[in-house]
Every structure is written in structure tokens, then in C-alpha cells.
């Protein structure tokens, strides 16, 4: 069972890479979906470059959201930041009722077309799951453990770095993964505001009525998102095992 899963993942990954590197080889597969001799494979840019730009945007935004959200999460769970806690919790709840498209669309008139509105939307929307998970993880740290750490003479800083954050790590990592997955989707929509990314292929297909573009764009983006989610989940497990063994 486990071997089958590994085999499936490897196959999906190789298929994705093969398609991105030499898409023309797959042209016969997509040719039936075109009409009037339209190109069967996206021809307005390199698919590999688009995929790289897509991932670049997603990870840049996710890194920024992680730094800000984890710091804020730590701040509002310290005694000195307690006044900000109720509002933070409510805001996270309200923020998640905002559709990512709305965040993206509102950013456009403010900062213009291109990469910037997408980055802003990804950053802002990506904050929520990480912030939420950081807060709940730090708040549910068993008080007996913290008391024990205090009893051992650890300063509040040592307690945070040595006890609370490592205990909170699984939930924080899960928040980062959620945030990355949402970002991959939102970055796809970013192509409607001229950000470089794989959404471009789908949008081009919709505009030129080329079903082959829509299908390959959808398949590549979907496959990439699934592999990313799955890969990050695996990485998380490995990382946690390393921490707990070490």
C-alpha cells in the first residue's frame, strides 16, 4: 500500500516535469481538443518559466506571511499583548469569510496590475491560517509543562524558544501548508490581473476558446497543487520526527 502510494507520487511528479520540460511531445494528446488548427500546446511563453514564476510568487508570499503571522501570534499570546488577543481571534474569523478573489481584486486598483497585487493578496490571505494556528498552538500549550520550565529557572525567552515554540510546531507547520495551498489557487486567479503564473494558460484558453489550453492549464496547476500539498505533508512528518528523536 505504501509502495503503491510512493509509485503514484513518483509517476505524477515525473509526468508533471516531463510535460513542463518538453510540452510539444504531448501535442498529439491535446490536438483533438483544438479547432480550426489552433495550437494544441500553450505557445505564448514557456510552461516551465510560468510554473517557476507561479511557485516563486507563492513561496515569497508564504515566507513573508509566516514571519509576520508567527511573530504576531507570539506577541498577542504574551501577557503584554493580551489586550490584542480577543480582537485578533475575531479578526481571523472575519478575515476568512473574505474570498481571496475579493482581496486580489481590491488590491489591483490600489497598486496597479502585475505581480504586486497578487503578492499583496497572497500575503494578506496567507496570514490567516498561520496566525490562527500559531495562536491556538501557543494557547493550548499545557500549563504544567510551562510551569516545569519555569521551575527549572528558564527565562520567558528560553521558555518560548525551547519549550513553547517546539510544542507548537506541528500546528504552525500545518497552518503554513494550508496557507501555501490556498496561495497556489489564488496565484492562479492572479493571472487575471497579469501576474505571471500557470493561470495564464487557462485564461488564454478561455479567451481564445481553446479547450486544449484550458485542459492542460487545469491539469498542470491541479497536479502541481496536489503534489505540493502532499509533499509538504510528508516533509512535515519527517521534520517532526527529526525534532522529536533529536
Amino acid at each position: 500500500m505504501r509502495r503503491l502510494g510512493l509509485l503514484l507520487r513518483l509517476a505524477a511528479f515525473s509526468l508533471l516535469v516531463a510535460f513542463l520540460v518538453m510540452p510539444q511531445r504531448f501535442a498529439p494528446l491535446f490536438a483533438p481538443f483544438t479547432e480550426y488548427g489552433a495550437p494544441p500546446i500553450y505557445d505564448q511563453g514557456s510552461l516551465l518559466a510560468l510554473a517557476a514564476a507561479h511557485l516563486g510568487t507563492v513561496f515569497l508570499a508564504a515566507a513573508a506571511s509566516t514571519v509576520v503571522a508567527v511573530s504576531l501570534g507570539i506577541l498577542v499570546t504574551r501577557p503584554s499583548g493580551a489586550e490584542f488577543l480577543p480582537l485578533s481571534r475575531t479578526l481571523v474569523g472575519i478575515g476568512q469569510t473574505f474570498p481571496p478573489v475579493a482581496v486580489l481584486a481590491i488590491a489591483v486598483p490600489l497598486v496597479g496590475f502585475g505581480e504586486t497585487p497578487t503578492l499583496i493578496a497572497l500575503f494578506a490571505y496567507g496570514l490567516l491560517p498561520i496566525f490562527e494556528n500559531t495562536i491556538s498552538a501557543l494557547q493550548t500549550c499545557p500549563s504544567s509543562v510551562i510551569e516545569a520550565a519555569r521551575g527549572m529557572g528558564m527565562s520567558s525567552r528560553q521558555r518560548l524558544l525551547g519549550v513553547e515554540l517546539p510544542l507548537a510546531m506541528p500546528l504552525i507547520l500545518e497552518g503554513i501548508r494550508l496557507s501555501v495551498v490556498i496561495n497556489v489557487g489564488t496565484a492562479t486567479i492572479g493571472s487575471t490581473v497579469a501576474a505571471k503564473g500557470l493561470g495564464e494558460v487557462i485564461i488564454a484558453g478561455l479567451l481564445s476558446n481553446n479547450t486544449a489550453f484550458i485542459l492542460q492549464g487545469g491539469l498542470v496547476t491541479g497536479l502541481m497543487a496536489m503534489l505540493l500539498y502532499d509533499g509538504m505533508a510528508g516533509l512535515e512528518k519527517r521534520l517532526l520526527r527529526a525534532v522529536h528523536v533529536g
Partner: protein, 389 residues
Amino acid sequence: MTPTPPPLHRIDRLGALLGTASIAAVAWLPFVTFKANRIASGTARSLFEVLPFGTALAVAGIVVVVAAAAIGVASPRSRLAAAIVGIAVVALALAAAAADLTPPGNRLVRVSPGVGCWVLLLVQALLATDALARLRPGPGLRVLCLALTGAVLYAAFALGLFDQLSIMREYAVNAGTFAREARQHVLLATGSLGAAVLVGLPLGVLCHKVPRLRAATLQVLNLIQTIPSIALFGILMVPLGALATAAPWARELGVSGIGAAPAVIALFLYALLPVVANATVGLGRVSPAAVDAARGMGLTGRQVLTQIELPLALPVIVTGIRIVLVQNIGLVTVAALIGGGGFGTFVFQGVGQTAIDLVLLGAIPTVVLAFSSAVVLDALVDVMSRAPQ
């Protein structure tokens, strides 16, 4: 270290931050943006430039009082009242500014809220939210607050208070389509939810009874959720288009590659995970003692399920429905890209024309719809969890 004397009044740090921000917004940030027509570039006007001096001073004064209350008053009730007064005053000032700047009968001039106005509204809304969060209102009160806010907003719009604002100008142009897209938006979101509940609940029960099935089903549904919405719409367009070409009956039912059909199916697929996962979790939490007791009383397996297990799992199941509904209302926006309609139509039209008011005309109702459904369903979950088990 010198001992600091105890402060006379405890200063609220959140209030200090937000209060300072609102005073700064009144003093330095533009209150409205004025455009000679829809495509002209806008000029920023401060509060004192757009309102008569006395009125502007009064508005600024009230903002300062609200800020002071946020900093120095501890009672959440008073803070809430102050924030509400602040929001109302800023909204009225905005309406007055728009009316003042628009020459009578002129339909070209565009007045929209400036950065300062947005900051003021946001800061005071944050203050109100914070006060409400500290008051911890019960489910009934929360729904009542929502209904009251809705009624006040409805009255304000019905009276034409904001008619001179740019976004309402866009509404006036699109009034006919707005109602249609609103209906389409709600229909797409709730229709796919209904289908997901019809399929997802039995699937959840099955997953609960057959543990081997559970892991595999949830894994597949999890993977589906990670597929970006445009991608899933795109993938579904191909088989649906083929079906419509091949089968006339499908075409007559309205199935086609573009439009509502791929949107409904994609939303349905996304909705399955929360419904199935929450049904399984909810059923899993039902205490074995309750099930045993019911069996002991001679209830059949079906009776145990419908009379004991499902009612006990209901709060968790409804939580799943809440997740789906909020998620669906957001995702329907994207359906506009493939001709599915809904509020996204305005959003993407607005993006195409770089017209922020048109974007907002699509985005604000979507957020309001999602937020209201979240409040109502959260209240419902609260009521159900409190009911004696």
C-alpha cells in the same frame, strides 16, 4: 530601576493604537477622492476641504472623543456605543461630502471614500468588533445585532443617503443585472451545498461504519480541495462540453462546457470534504454508552442512527455546512470567469476596466453574504451545542 507611579487610569494599548490611527487619519489623510468623470484621475480632498468648517470640526471632534473613549474607558459597552456613534458620524460625513461635491443634476462627477475615510471606518469597526468580542454575546444577540445592522444599512440605502457616492452610481447603472447576479450567486452557492449534503451525509455515515473506507475517502477529498478553483472549472469544462455536444437531452437541461454546470459540479466536489469529514468526526464523538443504551432499549440499527447518532452529531455536521457555505460564497466569485455569473461578474469587469467601484460592487456584497451566513450558522451551532444532550 525607579518604581513607576501607578497610572491614574489604565491605558488600553489596543485603544491607544487604534485611537491614534483614527486621529491621524482625520488630520492628515484625504477623506474623499474626487473625479470629474469615471475615467479621470482623482484628486484627494481632506475633511475640512469638503465640508463646511463647522461640520468638519464637529466630525473631527467626535472622532477625537471616540478615540479618547477607546484609550481611557474600560467598559466594553461604552466602547461599543462610542465606536458605533463614530462609524455613523463618519458614514454621514461621507454622504454629506458626496452630496456637497456633486452639482445638482450632475451624473458625471465621481466621489469615492478616500484613504482617510477607509482608515476611520476600519479603525472604528475594529473597536466595535473588539468591544463585541469582549462582551461575548450569546447566539441570539449576535443574530439580532446582525439583523439590526442590516436593517439600518437597508434603510440608509433605501433613503438614498449614499446615492451620490461612486459605488452607488455603478449600482444605478447595473441595478437590473445586480439583482440577477445576486440571485445566481446565492443559487450556485446553496445548490451545490444542498447536493453535497445529500451525497456527503450518507458517505459520512458509511465512512463512520467502515473505517477502512474513511482514510481513503478523506484523502481523495482532501486532494480535490487542493486543486485551484480555476483549474477544476477548466478540467470539468471539457467532459461537460463533450456531453452537451453528444447528448441533446443534456444540452436541453442547460449542461454545457461554460456557464453554471461546471461551476456547480466543482463547488459540489469542494464541498464534499467538510461535509463528509465533519459527519465522520461528529458521529465518532457520539458516546458509545448512548448507542449501547439505545440498542438495549431495542432500537434497530437504522433507528439508532436516525434517532440517536445523527441528532447528537448535528452540531459538528452543521459546523461543516457552515464551512462549506462560506467557502462556496467565496468560490462562486471565480465562477464568473467561466460564465457562471454571480457577483464575480462585476469583480472581473471592474478589474478589466480598472474601475475600483465596480470591483467593490461585486466584492462587498460577497463579503457581506459570507459574513452574515457565518454569523447565522455559528449562532445555530452554538444553540445546538448548548441544547441538553
